[in-house]
């Protein structure tokens, strides 16, 4: 394996995990997804174009793999959209901190397309164009999904003004974002 490829994969893993957890709502399943993504990526490393964004390429593989698995499973077990929300609620400790419970719950209730777009753009730091490539859709579609996701989150959390976040939550959010 080319050392630069190895390093690029290594660098992408923390963010891939965060993305995977946000997709499937379960740390163990997420780690399996990441592992399967690595195996697929390295088996198909020849289709990676050197000089392009390795992280975006890996995100695409993970996302597509998750989608096809998810569809398969839905066919096997009659699974409702609520199961994801339930898995988040019942295992908050799996998510690392138990903080931001209300936010997590609201995030879990978003339609998968919206949640995915919001995370890619709002947390993973991809541009709208990159997110559109990863999701295989138009840039405008990503923009509208992100907007809808934000609006829906605010609705679910009953936020009309910034004061609705409450001083406690606001402070913690600032603290959490301050230590990077």
């Amino acid at each position: 394996m080319d050392p630069s490829v190895r390093q690029a994969v290594l660098n992408a893993i923390p963010s891939l995990r965060a993305f995977a957890i946000s997709l499937c709502g379960n740390v163990d399943r997420a780690d399996d997804l990441v592992q399967e993504t690595m195996l697929r990526a390295l088996a198909n490393i020849n289709s990676f174009q050197p000089g392009t964004n390795m992280s975006a390429w890996l995100f695409t593989i993970l996302r597509n793999h998750f989608r096809s698995e998810y569809r398969k499973r839905r066919r096997e077990v009659e699974d409702s959209d609520g199961s994801y929300a339930e898995s988040l609620k019942s295992h908050p400790e799996q998510q690392g901190h138990v903080e931001f419970g209300e936010f997590r719950e609201a995030l879990a209730k978003l339609p998968p397309d919206q949640r995915e777009a919001l995370i890619l753009v709002g947390a993973s730091g991809f541009s709208y164009e990159e997110a559109a490539n990863i999701c295989g859709c138009a840039v405008g579609t990503i923009k509208s999904r992100v907007n809808r996701a934000r609006t829906r989150l605010a609705e679910l959390m009953s936020i009309d003004t910034v004061d609705d976040f409450g001083p406690d939550r606001t402070t913690r959010a600032v603290l959490a974002s301050g230590d990077r």
């Binding site: 690595m38 997590r104 339609p111 947390a123 609006t151 910034v162």
Partner: protein, 69 residues
Amino acid sequence: MKERKLGSGQDMQGAVEAKKPSARLSRDIQAKLGQQLRAIYDDVVNQGVPERFAALLDQLDKSDDKGKQ
């Protein structure tokens, strides 16, 4: 899935409806939502690379070398 609102007619209706109270989220609300989202995400990112993945890369590296010989 009841979320399916495909068909542009309905979609546009939805957009108009959503515009009423909160479609125009103020910048500061957007910023706060973004902070919370990143806090959750970064929690995981800051865990770094779990041992199993570093080990897997090593293993793949070895089998890769063998394959070339």
